[in-house]
Symmetry: D2
Subunit: 387 residues, 4 copies
């Protein structure tokens, strides 16, 4: 048992921390961002800064131009990146690109990697992951998939509607989940600038941290050559798991950073602000909230580290990544909710970054499987294990 | 003991409910509203609709043109009004005007009522309540008041900065809390269109339900004639209590309505939406959330009714209104948070009204005394009572 | 709407309160009680005291010798009785007799009332309610009933095992739930001193407030004349509901009294005990717990009153009694858990009455339907209502 | 970062697990235990079994006859020991001896070790730690110490009253905390069989896992030679910290084991027991409780491991051991409370071990510093750190 970080990793952690402080946080109030996230121009500037700092797309393999980080290393670096809502954009470790990079790296063909993955890793393009559909289609239950892909010669013809497609606006390409005649789910790669793809609208969302926001997409007789199937036909759901288990965990890493940021802001305020004859922090009611934040931060971090270590050992870690996802998403939410309470009026206005984190964070208890689906999945695993 | 409503009150409840459904909810997506609340034009239209329905400013005394509702009656009508975020605007029972009307009715002079209160009751103007100050001024602890009023001949000269001043933009007048040389807090009435009052900016806030948003106000040598002191000199803190005890409770009434709305939306979705082979609601995990909503709605309502009844009996109800404020603000928050979770992606986007309620509601655990201040106040009362 | 109590009810409340203080609390440390509750001798003394005070079996009809209390009146009197763990025993309003009296009063024949109900109301005997069975029999799910009753001439012959049968030891008679050949559940009345009934053992339980403890009963070819069927054949489940809806609520009333007692003990300690330079209560962390107790006490009481009022209006109140049961059992538990925490070492030892209340209370979240079953029942009702 | 256990530690874990299963659990229903814990005879038998298994007093240094376990090793072994309420007694790692052994090993003189520590490590004797006093003496706030030690020639004369003294009955000796004339707290070693020490009574407690129960002790002119001062005069409070930081953590380890046991019992029941047409565990409401148990077990374990590792690195770990204490005591409580709920009637009776664990566990949120004192301590550390 050893909780220490290697000197190299400590150096990378420190360097990322300093980069976020010096190069990213100063841009948090930059005007080039809005309800649907940072603009492409702001993103480009952030990417360029990370590139100069040698921190761009650090999770990608060395061959692809990244740092080839292990899961534990990602845990350290992504938490630091998450300290600013713009940090994951800068380091190119944001969702959905981060997960897409991982998936394509594992199952993509060389040609696909060359064409789509390389520019993604280099920060020159963005992607989206088109799985979720409006009622009565696939939501928390992927089995309800309704988008269809019909073989037609050397092509597949795709029809269907997707929504909550993060980053759709401005994405260079999409990974599309559709089902064949026989019901087998399959993933397809497709450039977004095609007549068969229509972005109907952007959805107004509570969060504003994702470049390109969340879009509603229509596929109308979209033709995709069979060579653009991602991986093998019929393995769509299996690949979704390949993508999701680590993607869930990187969400945890980034959100832990944001929760820590909120806590630091609240703590600084509690140290300074007077009320009823002493500082806020000297009131037990407030002090207890700060203590609970620290407890949540610490246990969330340990949960992430443990699951990351398991993944690094070659375990699938499905149970553990579910557990981390539930625990961290709920702990981070408790933290930022307490920070809002400590900050009072400043917690519910843009006077501090905390309101933004509060808005961005809420959906994490929902996406990549709502807490309820994960709890149920954990329960089933517990119940089925012999004992 | 009798929990029944008089036939007259049931009729008023029903009429308000129908008015909200037919005249207010259809305007919820009206373009004339934004980050800082409904526009004056939208407000005017809503007010006009309520006037036609005979529901305008129902809490004002009959002499002033209202319906002279008791607290219990307000509990019924305001909950119905709160069923839409625009309902309190329409009925002219929104904050801060609702509390200001009450306060001015109790302590204002006839001349003040004629000049300021009458147009307010008639829905022709709005007001604001300028008490909260930026750090290191008065926040949760009103004793830290820094805005000063200095006697100068027949006038007072007021200097200071206020923030989180709800409805400041567009308000016809303000009630200003300031302290005299001897430290005694005093309230002043002042028209907003004066050179001594400057609206520096509107604050970006989580909520968007208040006409005029939340502003930062500067008073720079603002001259107020001594005749425009509201009530008596030096009684500012006492009046703040006169205003706050019932104002807290009317907040509870309105938010209960919004929480009920969110619950109804989530319930309808849980009845319809399928996942994993049955409706969402048939999943115990979701069903339990709905049951907890019902428990919270019911106990919150009973808490409001009990405190309202006490106030109607002539009790000050300070302890009870603190208790209702803590309980209802936290119960309503739990409800809307659960609704977001039940709705999944639709809970964190503008696809339903629930995200808006979620955003609007959070601050209620903070304003009119954060939960922590009320818990402390309740504790001190418990500890000081002999037993 | 009226929350006031009639002068007569206030007098009864006050009289009960004084009786508990003067005649019951002094016996709380009486040696005639143990792990399986008060002895018959102690019970007899308590009953005699209540008889002298005119407070015996107050919920029974006037014809039967009681005070014929309405549900609201029971809410007031039973809360006072519950202020001591021995209070319900003294007033003869404890479980299961209280519910059995209610059920027999509604569905029993005149002969049955004369033979079994009258001595019960007079405090001369006790009864038990034999429904729950060991796995795989009927527990939270009554449909799993396995005890059988087979018609044989003018008799029924009953076989089966029951457990958690409260008050079995020393009970004069039992109400037995069994199913006929056609699966129809039926209730039978039977004296306990028969060869066909065997008390195997008493179960060691967390609580110790029920006279006669909780027993394991075997019915072995128990012969019951058809005239001793309670009510009609085949209506067992319906009668269980007749019994349970109000019985759940009277549990709430009594436990509210016990929670209030624990709170009073903790409050007195927090006022007196010093730590870190001030009284415990002056520490916000403790003060907040006391405030939360008061919030829980108040909302629990209002929930009980509301459901009691509904029952008094002739409503079945199934939804509402489920809601009160869940809310009050959980609120009371939170209260007594906080009291233990405030009392520290004295909370987990017999130095105060609180440990005993803590032990007695836990099972209330389980019996008469665990919280989970009630939440599910509430959810189904919500989901099935058209909206 | 490495979460793996060495093969040697895995072997020790496995061996302890098997020992508990084969040698300890079969004695759980042994009659030689009661309200005040296992009898000396039962303890002797358990000790003898552990000695034969080579698992006795494994935390003691090798010189003293133990296995010289590191903190991480203790985390593994003590969790296994805690799987039975009798396990810590068997391995001689129970409180208060475990902490006393640690303290005496660090600060005791050679003569003291020879006379008192050696037989303790060998399992031949027990000890107690006499610090807590009745109101108005030292409780959660040790500064309120009232027991006095007055120098008289070569002796100190001690007077005072202590309570909640775990293991007092039957202990061979006590470590007594008293204050000198100048207020300096000092620890003394004293054999219990002296006229100056009187055990007034045993306190009836919720728990029953400690041999010797919890006693009330009076020191009346107890003469202690100056050579029996433990460590240095005036360092009592400092030593209390030396004892408490690791002692808190070993409590966490043992209780984690008991929580895991309760969870295993509930899980097995949920797999088997039917209700409403499926197993309990297949009901989401129950499945979610089991999932939450797993989440709590896992995060509690990680918190313990992390703090243990820090202590092994030579850190004092005061903040971290406070954090682990709060988190683990509350997580373990949540777990066992959920287990009771899952088990229903069997959870609140002695039908399973869970009721006993439930009773034993509650006090852990109180002793070695109640959660409130630790939260406050954590908050102060957070607030004082520069940031």
């Amino acid at each position: 048992m050893d909780f220490s970080l290697s000197p190299k990793l400590v150096e990378l952690q420190q360097r990322t921390r300093e980069f976020i402080a010096s190069d990213v946080i100063p841009l948090e109030n930059d005007a080039r961002q809005g309800a649907h996230g940072p603009s492409e121009a702001l993103r480009a500037e952030l990417i360029e800064r990370a590139r100069r700092a040698g921190l761009l797309t650090p999770h990608a393999s060395v061959e692809l131009g990244g740092l080839g980080l292990t899961h534990i290393e990602k845990a350290i670096v992504f938490e630091e990146a998450g300290y600013s809502p713009l940090g994951p954009v800068a380091l190119n470790v944001h969702a959905p690109d981060e997960g897409n990079i991982h998936l394509m790296d594992v199952v993509g063909s060389d040609a696909q990697k060359q064409r789509w993955l390389k520019p993604l890793v280099e920060g020159h393009s963005r992607s989206c992951f088109a799985m979720t559909e409006p009622d009565p289609g696939a939501g928390a239950d992927p089995g309800m998939l309704r988008t269809t892909a019909v073989r037609d010669g050397d092509d597949y013809v795709i029809n269907g509607t997707k929504w909550f497609i993060t980053g759709a606006e401005g994405a260079a390409f999409a990974i599309i989940m559709a089902k064949l005649d026989d019901g087998a789910a399959t993933m397809f790669l497709a450039d977004m600038n095609q007549p068969g793809i229509r972005l109907e609208r952007l959805m107004d969302s509570l969060d504003s941290c994702f470049t390109g926001g969340h879009g509603v997409l229509h596929f109308e007789n979209l033709r995709v050559p069979a060579t653009d199937v991602l991986g093998e036909v019929g393995k769509g759901f299996r690949y979704a798991q390949v993508r999701l288990a680590p993607a869930r965990l990187t969400h945890c890493m980034r959100w832990l950073g944001q929760a820590r940021r909120a806590h630091d802001v609240a703590l600084a305020y509690a140290r300074r602000r007077q009320a009823f004859g002493k500082t806020l922090g000297e009131h037990e009611g407030v002090g207890f909230m700060l203590a609970d934040n620290e407890l949540d931060l610490q246990t969330a971090r340990l949960s992430i580290w443990h699951t990351a270590w398991l993944l690094d050992q070659g375990h699938k870690g499905n149970l553990e990544s579910s557990m981390s996802k539930v625990f961290v998403s709920e702990a981070a939410w408790r933290i930022v909710d307490r920070c809002v309470q400590v900050l009072g009026g400043q917690g519910v206005t843009a006077e501090t970054i905390v309101m933004r984190i509060f808005r961005d964070l809420r959906a994490f208890r929902i996406y990549d499987g709502p807490s309820e689906v994960h709890r149920w999945s954990i329960a089933r695993k517990l119940l089925s294990n012999a004992s």
